[in-house]
C-alpha cells in the first residue's frame, strides 16, 4: 500500500525536483551525503516513518544525497529503491520489542560501517529516541568521526523508573552529538532537560503535512447532522478513556450528534462497551484500522475533529484535520497549543467536562454558522507546515554541523565522563574505547580502500537523477516496479 503512495509522490515531486536540482547546481549550494537511520520506516506506518520519507524526498529535491537505513521487516530485506532513487537498506538485525532492534552497541558496527563507507556518508541523522538502532548508529558514527544529528519525536516524563533509565541512556547518546532537532518547543524543553543539553545545539523544526493530500470536500459530509471525527490509535495515551465518557454525555444532550472513530487498539473494547450500554450503534461508528490514504476520506465526512491525547509532542492529526477544513477540539497537552492558532482550535483541559464544553462550543458555532468555510481554513493551514520548509531548515542544520569538528577520541572520553556522571560515564567511555578497537580491527580485516563505492542514485552526480529526470514517465514506472 505504501508503495503506491510513494510512487504517486515521486510523480508530484518530479517536475519541481528537476528545476530545483538545476537551480542547486547553478547557485552551487553545499550538498551533503546524509544517512537517515531509524528502526521505524515503511512498511511500518506512523509519524516518524512519514517524516523520514518526506524529509528525504525534499532533501533529494534540493540536490543532496540521501540514503535510509532501517531493519528488515519480514521478507522486506536487502536494498530497495523508492521514488527518485531514494535507497533504503533493510538490515538483517533482530527485532526485540515494538519494532525496535536489540542494542549491544557492537553487533551493528560491521554492517553500518560498511554502509557509511561505501555510501561516502558525511552526516548521520538518527530519528526517534525509542529506536535503539538510531542510538547505535550515532555511537558508531562518532567512533568513525562522522557528523551526527538526532531528531527527537516524542515526549517523556521524569517520574518513573523506566524514564529515569531511558533518560540516562539519552544523555549518553546525545552528549557528544553535534546537533539535535525537536518537533516543538515543548519537545525541545523536554529533550534539553532529559539529556542535560545546551539549548543552543537544539533546533526546533516542526513536522509537516502534505496539504495536497488533505483537501476539504464539504459535499462528502451530511449537513443534516453533526459528525465528530476521531482518528487515533485506541490506546490509553491517546485518552480513549476520556472519549468513552464524552460519547454518552453528548449523545444524550444532542440527538443529531454522530461519532466516527477511526483506528484500532486495546481500548476499542471500552468504546464498544459504551456503545452497547447506551444503545448508540447507529450513532457511533468504529471503523477499525485505517490505511494512511483513507484518513482524508474519513476526515472530510466530519464537522468537528476531536483529539483527546494525554501527551503529544507535535500532533500531526490535528493539522491534517484542520487542513481538511474541520473545527478542531483538543486537549491542551504537550506541544499542541503551539501547533494551531487560537481561532482554528478549541483547547480544553484533559477532563470529560472540559472536553464536552469545548465540543458544545464547536457545535454552537456550527449551528450559528459563525465558522469559516472549510476552504478558508484549508487555505490558511496549508501555509503553515510544508515539507519543503522543513527540508530547508534541516539543511541549515546540516550546513552548521558540517562546519563543526567531531570530537576526537580523547575529548570524547572526557566529555562522556564529565557529562554523564562518573559511573555511567566511565562504563560508556570503556564501550567507546572497545568500539574504537573493534573498528580498528574491522579496518584491518577489510580496509576502507577495498570497499566498493556504491552507485549514487541521488545527489550531485546521482545516476538516477541524470538517467531519469529527463523522461518523467519512465521514472514513475520504475518506481512502482521497484516497490
Amino acid at each position: 500500500m505504501a508503495c503506491r503512495r510513494i510512487g504517486g509522490h515521486g510523480h508530484t515531486h518530479s517536475p519541481a525536483s528537476s528545476i530545483n536540482y538545476v537551480k542547486a547546481l547553478a547557485t552551487g549550494i553545499r550538498t551533503h551525503s546524509i544517512c537517515m537511520v531509524s528502526d521505524f520506516f515503511y512498511p511500518n506506518m506512523g509519524g516518524v516513518e512519514s517524516h523520514i520519507y518526506q524529509l528525504s524526498q525534499c532533501l533529494i529535491e534540493r540536490g543532496h544525497k540521501v540514503i535510509i537505513v532501517t531493519h528488515a521487516y519480514g521478507n522486506r530485506k536487502g536494498i530497495r529503491y523508492l521514488a527518485n532513487g531514494l535507497k533504503v537498506y533493510y538490515l538483517p538485525l533482530k527485532v526485540m520489542y515494538n519494532q525496535s532492534t536489540a542494542t549491544t552497541l557492537f553487533h551493528s558496527l560491521p554492517l553500518l560501517r560498511y554502509i557509511f563507507v561505501r555510501e561516502r556518508v558525511t552526516i548521520v541523522h538518527s530519528h526517534s529516541s525509542f529506536s535503539s538502532m538510531a542510538h547505535d548508529a550515532l555511537f558508531h558514527a562518532k567512533t568513525m568521526g562522522l557528523q551526527t544529528v538526532f531528531t527527537d519525536h516524542s515526549l517523556f516524563g521524569f517520574a518513573d523508573v523506566s524514564s529515569v533509565l531511558t533518560n540516562k541512556l539519552l544523555t549518553v547518546s546525545l552528549c557528544d552529538t553535534n546537533h539535535i532537532i525537536c518537533v516543538s518547543y515543548t519537545s525541545k524543553e523536554n529533550t534539553v532537560l532529559r539529556a542535560a543539553l545546551n539549548p543552543e545545539i537544539v533546533s526546533v523544526i516542526p513536522n509537516a503535512v502534505d496539504p495536497t493530500d488533505f483537501t476539504p470536500d464539504p459535499s462528502r459530509r451530511d449537513d443534516s447532522m453533526i459528525t465528530v471525527v476521531v482518528v487515533s490509535r485506541l490506546v490509553y495515551r491517546k485518552g480513549i478513556d476520556l472519549l468513552s465518557g464524552i460519547i454518552p454525555e453528548l449523545c444524550q444532550k444532542y440527538p443529531d450528534l454522530h461519532f466516527l472513530v477511526g483506528g484500532e487498539g486495546p481500548k476499542r473494547i471500552v468504546l464498544e462497551e459504551v456503545r452497547e450500554r447506551y444503545q448508540l450503534h447507529d450513532r457511533v461508528r468504529l471503523l477499525g484500522a485505517l490505511e494512511h490514504q483513507d484518513v482524508r476520506n474519513i476526515l472530510v465526512q466530519g464537522h468537528i475533529f476531536l483529539n483527546t491525547s494525554l501527551t503529544e509532542a507535535f500532533c500531526m492529526a490535528i493539522v491534517e484535520a484542520a487542513s481538511c477544513g474541520l473545527q478542531v477540539v483538543s486537549t491542551r497537552v504537550g506541544g499542541i497549543p503551539e501547533v494551531l492558532p487560537e481561532n482554528l482550535i478549541i483547547l480544553c483541559e484533559p477532563s470529560v467536562k472540559s472536553l464536552c464544553d469545548g465540543l458544545e462550543k464547536a457545535v454552537a458555532q456550527i449551528r450559528s454558522g459563525t465558522l469559516p468555510t472549510p476552504e478558508t481554513i484549508h487555505n490558511k493551514v496549508k501555509t503553515f507546515y510544508t515539507w519543503r520548509n522543513v527540508a530547508e531548515r534541516t539543511e541549515k542544520v546540516y550546513d552548521r554541523v558540517a562546519d563543526e569538528v567531531v570530537l576526537p577520541m580523547d575529548k570524547r572520553l572526557d566529555r562522556l565522563i564529565s557529562h554523564c556522571g562518573s559511573v555511567t560515564g566511565c562504563i560508556f567511555a570503556l564501550f567507546a574505547v572497545l568500539s574504537f578497537l573493534f573498528l580498528v580491527f574491522l579496518r584491518w580485516m577489510t580496509p576502507d580502500s577495498i570497499i566498493d563505492v556504491a552507485v549514487d542514485a541521488t545527489g550531485p552526480s546521482g545516476a538516477w537523477t541524470q538517467q531519469y529526470f529527463p523522461s518523467k514517465k519512465g521514472s514513475e514506472k520504475e518506481e512502482i516496479s521497484n516497490c
Binding site: 532537560l193 526546533v204 454518552p248 454525555e249 497537552v333 470529560v352
Partner: protein, 297 residues
C-alpha cells in the same frame, strides 16, 4: 512584559508557536525557555514524629515474628506446655475480641453486618479442624530434614515481612500471600515440636498473632493513636525480654534493629527528601481525574 527583539525587525516578539515563521534562528533560546518548569509539586513534607509513629506498623510486625519464634523455642525446650499456650491465647483473643468492638463502639460490626453467632461458628470450625488435623500436620514433614525446615521457615517469615500490607500502595503488597507465608512457616516449625497437641497450640497461636492481631492493631491505630503507641512499646519490650531469656546477643541486635527502623530511618527519609528534584512541565502525561466507571455502570 519584556521581550527579546531582533535587530532586523524591531518590535517583533518571540512567540512559542510553530505555525508562524519567526525572524529567529531555529536554535534560538528565549528567556521564556523552561518558564513552565515546576519542581517538586507533589513532594510531601514529612514531620519527624509523624514518620516515627507510622513506623510503628513495621515494629509491630517484626515483634510479632520475634514473639512467635520465642514461643516456639520455649515449646521446643519444654518450658511452656501447650495447655498453657492455648489457654493464654484463648484468653487474650477473647479480650481482643471485646476490645475490637469496644474501640469503635460497634460501628464496624454494624457496617459489616456479621453476627456474633457467625463469629463463634467459624472459631469452632477452625479450632475443630486444626485439632483434628494436628496429627497429620505433625507427621507431614517427617521425611524432610530439620535444616531444610528451618531454612524454609526463615525464608517464609522474611517473605511474610516483605509482602505484609504496611499501608503502602505498591504492587509488591499482598496481604494474602503474606499471611499464607506466615502460616506455612508456622506449620513447618510446629511439625518439629514433640507432640500433636503442641502442633495444634502452635498453629492456633500463629493464626492469632499473624491474622487477628494485625486487624486489632489497625483499628487501634486509627481510633486511639495514644493507646497504639503504648501497646507498640509494650509489645516491643516484651518481645525483647523474651528474646533476652534465650540469647543476649540476639536481643541486643534486635533492639538495634528496632531503634534504627523507628528513629534512624525516619531521619534519613527527611534528610533525603531535601535532595528531591522532581521535574514537572507541559510535557508530562496528563492524568485522567474523572471517575469514568460511572459511564459503564
Amino acid at each position: 512584559m519584556v521581550c527579546a527583539q531582533v535587530e532586523a525587525s524591531p518590535g517583533k516578539c518571540w512567540q512559542k508557536v510553530l505555525y508562524e515563521r519567526q525572524p529567529f534562528p531555529d536554535n534560538y533560546v528565549d528567556h521564556r525557555f523552561l518558564e513552565e518548569l515546576r519542581k517538586n509539586i507533589y513532594a510531601r513534607k514529612y514531620q519527624y514524629w509523624a514518620v516515627v509513629f507510622e513506623s510503628g506498623v513495621v515494629i509491630q510486625q517484626l515483634c510479632s515474628v520475634c514473639v512467635f519464634v520465642v514461643i516456639w523455642w520455649y515449646m521446643d525446650d519444654g518450658l511452656l506446655t501447650p495447655q498453657w499456650l492455648f489457654g493464654a491465647g484463648l484468653a487474650s483473643s477473647l479480650i481482643g475480641y471485646v476490645l475490637f468492638d469496644v474501640i469503635d463502639l460497634g460501628v464496624g460490626r454494624k457496617e459489616s453486618g456479621r453476627t456474633r453467632w457467625a463469629d463463634l461458628k467459624s472459631t469452632q470450625v477452625f479450632i475443630a479442624f486444626t485439632y483434628g488435623f494436628s496429627p497429620v500436620l505433625k507427621t507431614l514433614t517427617e521425611s524432610i530434614s530439620t535444616d531444610t525446615i528451618y531454612a524454609m521457615s526463615v525464608l517464609m517469615l522474611l517473605g511474610h515481612l516483605i509482602f505484609f500490607d504496611y499501608g503502602a500502595n505498591a504492587a509488591i503488597v499482598s496481604s494474602t500471600l503474606s499471611l499464607n507465608m506466615a502460616i506455612f512457616a508456622s506449620v513447618c516449625l510446629a511439625s518439629r515440636l514433640p507432640r500433636s497437641l503442641h502442633t495444634f497450640a502452635m498453629v492456633t497461636f500463629a493464626i492469632q498473632i499473624f491474622a487477628l492481631w494485625p486487624m486489632l492493631q489497625k483499628k487501634l491505630k486509627a481510633r486511639t493513636p495514644c493507646c497504639y503507641v503504648g501497646v507498640t512499646l509494650l509489645f516491643a519490650l516484651s518481645a525483647l525480654a523474651g528474646l533476652l531469656t534465650i540469647s543476649g546477643v540476639a536481643a541486643l541486635l534486635f533492639a538495634l534493629l528496632l531503634v534504627s527502623i523507628s528513629c534512624l530511618c525516619p531521619y534519613c527519609l527527611i534528610r533525603l527528601q531535601l535532595l528531591k528534584d522532581n521535574i514537572h512541565g507541559p510535557w508530562d502525561e496528563a492524568e485522567i481525574k474523572d471517575d469514568l466507571s460511572r459511564f459503564l455502570m
